[in-house]
């Protein structure tokens, strides 16, 4: 177990370093550089100013040297300095990460819970109207562009009904603390988390349904019936548990996608997470920040994958802790 984790961590670090190196060059391929962007925003440029900025950012050095400096930093867990925001990258990401995690994990939980629930129902009533209705309902959320769902949600729940706030992480200026603050954050969280979660829900619904139907046909379900177990127990203990294995795998893959996929949700709901931070960093060519977000995102994905694998191994005794 420990060796398994250690091995995965070592492999993960190798992948991360590859990501750093490749993205380092990738980002620099894009036209424009941070000096240009900042000069542009300052509304005036002259040679001295741009040159000064480039020097400040270390962009005047040859590319391999820049890479060397950056990688050296990453290896010592230093993600560099965002010159545009004048702060260490780690600090900037650290400020945003909790919001993103809150959003994505909630969305993840929602999608998983609803998906499994609906999937179970659909499988239970496979072939009936209920099954079709659930499938179509789930697919509608899947098929609508996320920014559209988001806007509809805002129009309905914020503008028309005035139930939920349309933007932000908390009520600004309310200065709430304790449970009141938690409630306030929760209210702000509902819409973005639902928007993001409903999209992924469709996948889990279908996956659970298919998997349940598959497991239902297996021999051990017959054994369980031959024991005289009640249907509910069979469904829950024998069918669902086995059916969840592929769902767990898929969920592991998604958890990573969710983080990066939150860009749009965070934009529309003004959620102060790292998806948005990444997008701004890209537009501003804030190289260090962008790379930093990538590294952190990838690290999160790797961590989530590891967790899924561990969970999988816990749930499925057949898998040994070997490679």
């Amino acid at each position: 177990m420990l060796s398994f984790v250690a091995q995965r961590v070592v492999k993960g670090v190798i992948v991360l370093l590859a990501i750093v190196v490749l993205n380092f060059f990738l980002i620099r391929l894009a036209p424009g550089d941070p000096a240009m962007v900042m000069a542009g925003e300052a509304g005036a440029t002259d040679q001295v100013f741009v040159k000064q900025l480039r020097e400040k950012f270390g962009l005047d050095k040859p590319l391999p040297e820049q890479l060397f400096i950056y990688v050296k930093g990453v290896v010592t867990l230093d993600l560099g300095f965002s010159f545009r925001q004048q702060a260490p990258v780690a600090k900037l990401i650290g400020e945003r990460l909790p919001a993103t995690l809150l959003l994505t994990l909630t969305a993840f939980a929602i999608s998983l819970a609803l998906g499994v629930l609906f999937g179970t129902f659909a499988a239970r009533f496979a072939g009936t109207f209920l099954d079709t209705a659930i499938t179509v309902f789930a697919l509608i959320f899947y098929a609508m562009p996320i920014f559209w769902v988001a806007l509809m949600g805002i129009l309905l729940f914020s503008v028309t009904m005035d139930w939920l706030p349309s933007f932000g992480y908390e009520t600004v200026g309310a200065n709430l603390t304790g449970p009141a603050h938690a409630l306030d954050v929760a209210k702000h969280l509902i819409m973005p988390a639902m928007t993001l979660g409903l999209f992924f829900m469709a996948t889990y619904t279908r996956m659970t349904r298919a998997s349940m139907l598959e497991v239902k046909r297996l021999d051990f379900v017959k054994t369980a019936r031959a024991k005289g177990l009640s249907d509910a127990v069979i469904q829950r203990r024998h069918v669902l548990r086995n059916a969840l294995l592929p769902v767990v795998t898929l969920a592991g893959v998604h958890s990573g996608t969710l983080i990066g996929g939150a860009v749009i949700t965070e934009t529309v709901f003004a959620w102060p997470g790292i998806g948005r931070l990444m997008y701004d960093a890209l537009l501003q060519r804030d190289y260090n920040l962008l790379l930093g977000v990538f590294v952190i995102c990838s690290a999160m994905v790797l961590i989530f994958n590891l967790i899924t694998d561990l969970v999988y191994r816990l749930v499925d005794p057949r898998i040994e802790f070997a490679s």
């Binding site: 240009m36 900042m38 000069a39 005036a44 440029t45 400040k56 004048q86 992480y169 529309v268």
Partner: protein
């Protein structure tokens, strides 16, 4: 009505500023927020007349080369230290290194001296007509010497919690959410500011910003923070007031860079054809919702020495076609770079493309983000490109830079990137900057405008207007030619 004190204002800030240290970062949002924290020596009325701020009074010598400023007494920094002439000298030194525009503006200054704690004397190398127009807070913010001297400015901790002399003090910044400013109780203008707090809310999506206003979560939408298509709808909401004021100093003017160096656009007739081909009234009425004004030439009508006595280019596709034919244009592909500043600008790019295609030009739109676009323009790798620039009140500050041949420099933006070169124009702008008195300057600049409009180095489109939308209970928000960027010291809430 007498101002009432108290209350908080929620305003939108878009995009989130990278930092608030105005001396080092000069992008729009930084100016908007930091205009409350920092102050300049002067302010400017909507007519762009100088008004006292940190300088109580000023005088100009006979030869127009010496400017003497008397500083206001009893002004303190937010940390309680007094503001003196030493701070002014220090700020000027710092800005010369960190503030590109300030460095240009101060190019004519030979020396700055402080005979006493409350007097600052600028001596110029030669007379410089617009000199009194460079002391606004965004152009020349005052920095506390005692906190910055001898430190590494880039990493000075006060960059993240700026200290100024302004009516509001920095309180907190939740990255990605909001910036909170609170009243400066020791502000040097007694009784001001009236507000207790300002929250600048970060909402990246334009539609969400409109919703935030509608649902009462924000009170002020500064110019440009919602799409123009939304302006009429929001204006009609209950208790909503709209003003176009507050942009006189900047006078944003939109035009198309035309690359004069190569291809069909090197021909003046093709450039004129473009002026005729584009339906600028449509752009104003449909895309900008009737806001703004069709530009007549390189100067906005709000800035000094403007004249409309120039050649006119009404929408006339037939004439455009004729000119193109005359110039021998044969459908060569022309690349168009729209401005990546949101939907309005995207739509405008599409409309212009359609206009140009209608007169027989072959247009390919090149999509870029802002950084990529800037790079392409600076490297002269474009044919037509959208832009809009501030004019800073005086042709010597905001106009000449785009047309004189000395401002042709590859790799840089906002200068003469179109590559227009005309010795006559070079001379007129050189003379105009140093000429005295104003009547003489006027003569020179009017002549320059006539020549430019005939030559069409760039295709002027619209004088833009960015209406500020706010609840009517917000009073006196905009009192100067710099508008929202000048701080909320006069604003109050009618509860």
């Amino acid at each position: 009505q007498a101002p009432k004190t108290g209350g908080a204002i929620n305003a939108v800030i878009q995009p989130e500023p990278p930092g608030l240290m105005l001396a080092q970062i000069q992008n729009g949002p930084t100016q908007m927020v930091s205009g409350n924290i920092f102050e300049g020596l002067l302010r400017y009325s909507p007519k762009l007349e100088p008004q006292p701020e940190l300088a109580e009074s000023w005088s100009v010598s006979e030869d127009a080369k010496t400017y003497t400023f008397k500083l206001k007494k009893g002004v303190t920094w937010h940390d309680g230290k007094p503001f003196t002439a030493a701070d002014v000298l220090f700020s000027i030194e710092m800005l010369k290194q960190t503030h590109a525009r300030a460095r240009n503006n101060l190019a004519q200054v030979e020396k700055v001296e402080a005979p006493d704690d409350y007097t600052v004397v600028f001596t110029l190398k030669q007379p410089f007509g617009p000199f009194l127009g460079i002391f606004e807070v965004g152009s020349m913010p005052m920095v506390p010497k005692h906190l910055y001297e001898g430190t590494d400015w880039k990493t000075n901790p006060y960059n993240n919690a700026p200290v100024g002399t302004g009516p509001f003090m920095f309180k907190e910044w939740q990255k990605g959410s909001f910036i909170r400013l609170v009243k400066n109780p020791n502000y040097h203008e007694k009784g001001k500011p009236y507000l207790d707090e300002i929250y600048w809310q970060v909402i990246p999506d334009a539609a969400a910003r409109a919703v935030a206003y509608e649902t009462g979560k924000v009170d002020v939408l500064p110019g440009g923070s919602v799409e123009n298509f939304d302006v009429p709808r929001l204006s009609k909401l209950k208790d909503t007031c709209v003003t176009g004021a507050g942009w006189e100093f900047f006078s944003p003017l939109a035009w198309l860079w035309l690359n004069n160096r190569q291809g069909p656009l090197a021909d003046k007739r093709v450039r004129q054809a473009i002026m005729y081909a584009i339906d600028r009234d449509f752009a104003k009425d449909v895309i900008w919702n009737g806001l703004g004004k069709v530009a007549t030439g390189p100067s906005a009508s709000t800035i000094k020495f403007y004249t409309d006595d120039v050649k006119k280019y009404p929408y006339d596709p037939a004439k455009a076609k004729a000119l193109l034919k005359e110039a021998g244009y044969k459908g060569e592909k022309i690349r168009l770079l729209p401005l990546a500043y949101g939907e309005t600008w995207q739509r405008w790019g599409e409309a212009v493309k359609q206009n140009l295609q209608d007169v027989g030009m072959t247009i390919e739109t090149i999509a870029t983000d802002v950084a990529g676009g800037n790079q392409k323009i600076a490297e002269w790798d474009y044919d037509i490109a959208f832009t809009y620039l501030y004019q800073y009140g005086d042709p010597a500050l905001g106009v000449g830079r785009n047309y004189v041949s000395s401002a042709i420099a590859k790799g840089q933006m906002f200068n003469n990137v179109e590559g227009y070169s005309n010795p006559e124009i070079d001379k007129l702008f050189a003379d105009g900057a140093v000429a005295t008195p104003d009547s003489k300057r006027k003569e020179i600049y009017e002549k320059a405008q006539k020549i430019l409009v005939e030559d069409v180095p760039v295709a002027w489109m619209l004088e833009l207007q960015f209406p500020t939308i706010m609840r009517c209970k917000v009073k006196n928000l905009i009192t100067t030619g710099i508008g929202v960027n000048d701080g909320f010291k006069d604003a109050w809430l009618d509860k």
